[in-house]
Symmetry: C2
Subunit: 323 residues, 2 copies
């Protein structure tokens, strides 16, 4: 309450309310029990409501308050938006969230959220603070919570076991209304749900909706900008913008892609302002890729000539065949 | 069959049997129908069995046949092992697999696998060749297949939507016996299930089993070796070995981590031969981290002195407070 009062006095438009609810955090971080947490949460919410202010929950990742990581991308940021350089202006809902939700007692968690839902928060939050949640656990917890509260449900997933995109997607399937993301997933430890990865997952499931709602072609630009600002490389294996995300090399892949891209691509690079590339000088590529390249160059060769070239020249040039 | 005969003649120990079963691949890649696929699969399997050879399925990723990507890591590679530089020696099971399983007709797929299971294959394979599968789809498909065949089930997931680790994990939950991985997930497009990410996911769920079965402390070495060989950087956000995977910066995280690491760590860096690092000179870090650093240095300061230092010197040094 002291923090809430101090925060209100600064003249902010909204507050984040967050508390660790797992036994780990209750014991080793703040030392409070569930009764105290519930009582305090309700007091704080009622106080903030009485001041006519709105509250929005952020869970635990410090990246959320780092303006370098929140450039102005209201067009493509699916969930969290920090439209100014200070923090979060223009907040539109009141909410409360738990930290470490997936190591919290289910009944404790549901009791707390049922209580604050009754008080009238607009949003409750589930946070996989330590990155331990599995996709099916996420689905089950959010689905259960969906039946207990009538307000929005925000979720927050860390990526320690590489499941942050999948967990976010399962949360959406189960009825979550908001997903925390950051550009390239930058956040505490190895980060949270990356914006680009979630876009890739969402656009495959609901292409028309996602393409009409977000400016996907800006993704590469924003990722490059953030990567440069914080001095990191965009990972080679990044969904969509990784340097070989739309590169095809294997013979059977290349042949089919040249016939019809949807054979081996569920994402259309053009949606992101990118292009596909089919290797034709790799020892993994078959002669079909060479045939296409021959056509592109306006040359005239029979299939047998192309195959002969592929078997002799290409493999010689690539060091896989010796003379 | 022609390919199978040619392959057997080369004197190999085992064969991979793979075919695309989705309508996309049947139409645009090989042009065969399901009746032909089933008939041919059975013929090929019976031929190979008659030669006393074993068959092992690989799905579609060319990385599997690239020896640079398969250094000798039998200790930690959970599933696929290519112990020699040529390809796969010492194969131990016979199997057949489909490509693009998640865009294939369910009844077609189950019929094919039921038929080859009857013929006596040791393993059937499910491949998310285009990376479109979601975790709950994977669980449902593998669970259904588990009820149809009695043999092992191998799975293969591409990472186009960032779900390859989660999908592999859901496959294991549903009864899959084998997961295809590669070091750093290197494979066609943006790759497949990464070995390290899957280890992170598995060790959280079954720590004792995973720690006794795999030499986790070799993970960083093998990833660094492969990254250097193929001239890429280990991604900044890689599970376990990303440069900040065990770095703590946020104030509430740092305080709790210093009290008890399991508050914010589900992975113990020591299991991987790594160490944790708590930032104490970041503007996101609270005074507790500074207090611990003071103790480490053998200095004597009261809490008030530490707080005073933190508020003045640290924030000044970090450019967040001006005089």
């Amino acid at each position: 309450m002291r923090d809430a009062k101090l925060a209100v006095e600064t003249g902010v438009d909204g507050l984040d309310v967050v508390i660790g609810t797992s036994s780990f955090l209750r014991e080793h971080s703040h030392g409070k029990d569930m009764a105290y947490i519930e009582k305090t949460a309700i007091e704080v919410i009622e106080y903030i409501k009485s001041k006519g202010l709105e509250v929005r929950c952020k869970s635990c990742s410090p990246s959320h308050s780092d303006p370098r990581l929140h450039p102005e991308i209201p067009e493509i940021s699916p969930m969290q938006q920090c439209p100014d350089e200070i923090g979060c202006g223009a907040l539109t809902s009141s909410a409360v969230s738990s930290e470490d939700s997936f190591r919290s007692d289910l009944v404790d968690l549901l009791s707390l959220y049922k209580a604050v839902d009754k008080v009238g928060v607009h949003r409750v939050g589930i946070a996989d603070t330590v990155g331990c949640a599995t996709p099916r656990q996420v689905y089950d917890l959010v689905r259960t919570l969906r039946g207990v509260v009538s307000c929005d449900i925000e979720t927050h997933f860390h990526n320690d076991t590489g499941c942050a995109v999948a967990n976010a997607y399962c949360a959406l399937e189960a009825g979550a209304t908001h997903i925390d993301t950051s550009v390239l997933g930058i956040g505490e430890r190895n980060g949270i749900t990356p914006l680009g990865g979630l876009m890739a997952r969402m656009v495959v499931t609901a292409p028309e909706y996602v393409k009409s709602k977000y400016k996907l072609h800006k993704l590469k630009e924003i990722e490059d900008m953030v990567a440069e600002a914080v001095q990191i490389n965009v990972p080679f294996n990044n969904p969509i913008t990784g340097f070989c995300a739309f590169t095809h090399k294997a013979g059977i892949h290349a042949k089919a892609i040249l016939n019809n891209p949807s054979t081996y691509e569920i994402l259309d690079p053009a949606d992101f302002g990118l292009t596909r590339y089919v290797h034709f000088a790799s020892r993994l590529t078959g002669w079909n890729a060479v045939k296409t390249r021959v056509k592109q160059l306006g040359l005239s060769m029979t299939d047998d000539q192309v195959k002969e070239w592929y078997v002799t020249r290409a493999s010689w040039a690539l060091g896989t065949r010796k003379y």
